[in-house]
């Protein structure tokens, strides 16, 4: 079998044995039962109970939000009304498999006809139905296999529910035959630092137990590697493991241009990890966690203690705290309790804070007081700023309350386009690429059906980033990036070429981005930026830059069969 080629996510490398994601089960046949209704009922009851127990077990392992979803699924398998319906169908001569299939389908159709939230539960029902039928037939349940040993998962593509539950201690790498670099699977793999190659044509021809080497740097999947190939990969893995123990230096391009690498943090719990991975500071500290579990805002003293713990961990380093960013995906009832048709375009970010100014004042006061008791270089920024006027409002208020360095997030295209005027009135800008992409492409980032638009490589998004970069250079003010885009190593280089002066990302991504920056000079970064800007689409932009960044370009050959 030839080497397979797809798009690698990140820079990881893995060697292991393939396990295929089982194919969906065919519809059970409607042939009459060959046994008695009572026997079929016993079979159905046994499989329903076993499936519920299995789902509950997985829920316990997954924890968090996934646990709640799986708990609800377990109740579906145990549902007494459903069981009555299954028994009725068995009495009419159906097999247990067919009766289970039909009973779930009937409920699914009912929920789908109700639409909205109920309709979305149809997927959950299908999943439970497939699991019960698989148990009855004694075949592997659909979904990610869960063996006791590490493996390389091969699938057409993964459903969000599957990816959310991936057990990172056993999944060494992911290979998909479908799906591109912006598919849900790719985004998740990047977020969780899973070694992944997506869109690898021919991946479905791999069989269970085959050994493969997955190299995300090149996007290559080496099938049945020779001893020499295996040894080379193992040496690389050992070298990389050793390199991780070496103290990490500050981020810089190949020509020495410094690009500070900072961490995105949402709680103080992850501080140690960030410091260990070599974060040179914090580029985005989300403060929502302080507020999420409460019905009203915490007191100034409570907040001050939390911020103080954060600042104390980074003496002499930059720590950028984002003012409370509620709304859209993270509503807070005390800030905005009005249901909105279109929350991403509603009263959120700085707009919501301004409507509740006492909460903003308390937060800024707490941050300024915490900064005064510590040595960290504390900066504060406002979320979702759209206008020059909002910039002035926030910067003035922050300074009035004792904040030394105040800036704004650029997430709205209007703010990016007027970045020169915005930067004239504030100390720095930080680009939130996730929201900037959502607003530029007019695609809800929480909506799966338009997920393909959510790609920060899109030249329109990059052009806006470039506007902010130019404005920052002209004004001599820092322009940071704190969105998902900064964690994509090659895109990080492009962003620096567009004028970003620092990059902030989840600590897991720091090592890969640091290594990628060190490969290129500022001149090359600017050249990559030009290539990406002149492309027609996100895919073209990515390909053009990958092509320019790959030394000794080799076209993958199909003739090695």
């Amino acid at each position: 079998m030839p080497t397979l080629t797809g798009v690698g996510i990140g820079r990881g490398l893995a060697i292991g044995e393939v396990l295929r994601m089982p194919d969906p089960l065919p519809e059970p046949s409607d042939a009459a039962s060959q046994t008695t209704p009572d026997a079929e009922k016993v079979r159905a009851a046994g499989s329903l109970a076993a499936t519920a127990a299995d789902i509950r077990l997985r829920g316990g392992r997954a924890g968090g939000a996934a646990k709640d979803v799986l708990e609800a699924q377990a109740f579906m398998a145990e549902d007494p009304t459903l069981k009555d319906d299954v028994d009725k169908r068995i009495d009419a001569g159906k097999t247990a498999e067919r009766a289970v299939f039909e009973a779930f389908a009937a409920f699914r159709d009912l929920l789908v006809s109700m639409g909205g939230y109920m309709g979305e539960r149809a997927t959950d029902l299908n999943d439970v139905s497939q699991r019960v039928v698989a148990h009855l037939q004694g075949v592997a349940a659909p979904g990610v296999p869960t063996p006791d040993h590490p493996f390389i998962l091969v699938a057409r593509d993964l459903a969000p529910a599957d990816t959310a539950l991936l057990d990172l201690s056993t999944v060494l790498a992911l290979i998909t035959s479908d799906g591109g670099p912006t598919s849900h699977t790719a985004i998740l793999a990047r977020e969780k630092s899973i070694v992944a190659v997506v869109g690898a044509v021919g991946a479905l021809e791999l069989s269970d137990g085959q050994t493969v080497i997955v190299d995300a740097t090149t996007g290559a999947v080496t099938v049945d590697p020779s001893d020499a190939e295996r040894a080379a990969a193992e040496t690389t893995l050992a070298d990389r493991a050793a390199a991780k123990d070496v103290p990490v230096g500050p981020g810089a391009l190949a020509d020495g241009t410094p690009v500070p690498l900072l961490a995105n943090l949402g709680t103080v719990d992850k501080l140690d990890e960030a410091v260990e991975k070599g974060a040179e500071g914090v580029g985005l500290f989300r403060t929502e966690f302080l507020f999420l579990d409460s019905e009203k805002a915490p007191t100034v003293a409570d907040q001050q203690a939390k911020y103080s713990a954060l600042f104390a961990a980074f003496p002499g380093k930059k720590v950028v705290v984002r003012a409370l960013d509620a709304g859209a995906d993270k509503p807070l009832s005390f800030l905005n309790d009005e249901p909105e048709e279109n929350p991403a375009l509603g009263l959120r970010g700085l707009r919501a804070l301004r409507a509740n100014e006492p909460i903003l004042r308390d937060q800024l006061t707490a941050i300024a007081s915490a900064a005064a008791e510590n040595e960290a270089d504390a900066w504060v920024m406002a979320p979702m700023v759209s206008t020059v006027e909002e910039t002035r409002y926030f910067t003035r208020l922050a300074k009035e309350l004792g904040v030394k360095t105040a800036g704004v997030m650029i997430e709205v295209p209007a703010a990016a386009l007027l970045a020169d005027r915005i930067l004239a009135d504030t100390d720095f800008a930080s680009i939130g690429t996730n929201d900037l992409t959502q607003y530029t492409l007019a695609a809800d980032r929480l909506l799966g059906s338009v997920a393909s638009f959510q790609d920060p490589w899109h030249p329109a998004v990059l052009r806006l980033v470039g506007e902010v970069g130019k404005a920052g250079a002209a004004a001599g003010k820092p322009v940071g990036i704190c969105g998902e885009a900064a964690a994509d190593p090659l895109l990080a280089v492009v962003l620096v070429g567009l004028g970003a002066t620092s990059l902030s990302m989840s600590p897991a991504a720091l090592a890969d981005v640091r290594a990628e920056l060190a490969r290129f000079t500022l001149k090359q970064a600017k050249q990559f930026a030009e290539l990406a800007l002149s492309a027609n689409s996100a895919v073209e932009a990515r390909l053009a830059v990958i092509d320019a960044a790959t030394p000794n370009k080799t076209t993958p050959t199909e003739s090695e069969k």
């Binding site: 609800a72 145990e78 549902d79 009304t81 459903l82 939230y117």
Partner: protein
Amino acid sequence: MATRTVTVASAHGLHARPASLFVQAVASSGLAVELSKGDKTLNAASILGVISLGIEHGDTVTLTAEGDNAEAVLDQLAEIITTDQDA
């Protein structure tokens, strides 16, 4: 026979997590409990039944149970429904 008529407090109605919590409480009570909304009545231990009633925030529902301890069980179930589980 014990009954309670209560108003649903959860912001997103009796779906998802609140529905799971409710069904779990019904199942662990060991009693046969019925849930009615309007003219529809069903077994309250059926999560699919509860979800398919499409119970929204502010809807009024009636709980009915018979047997030992029915009053205490319904008090507990009413408490779940009248607490905002999405908060």
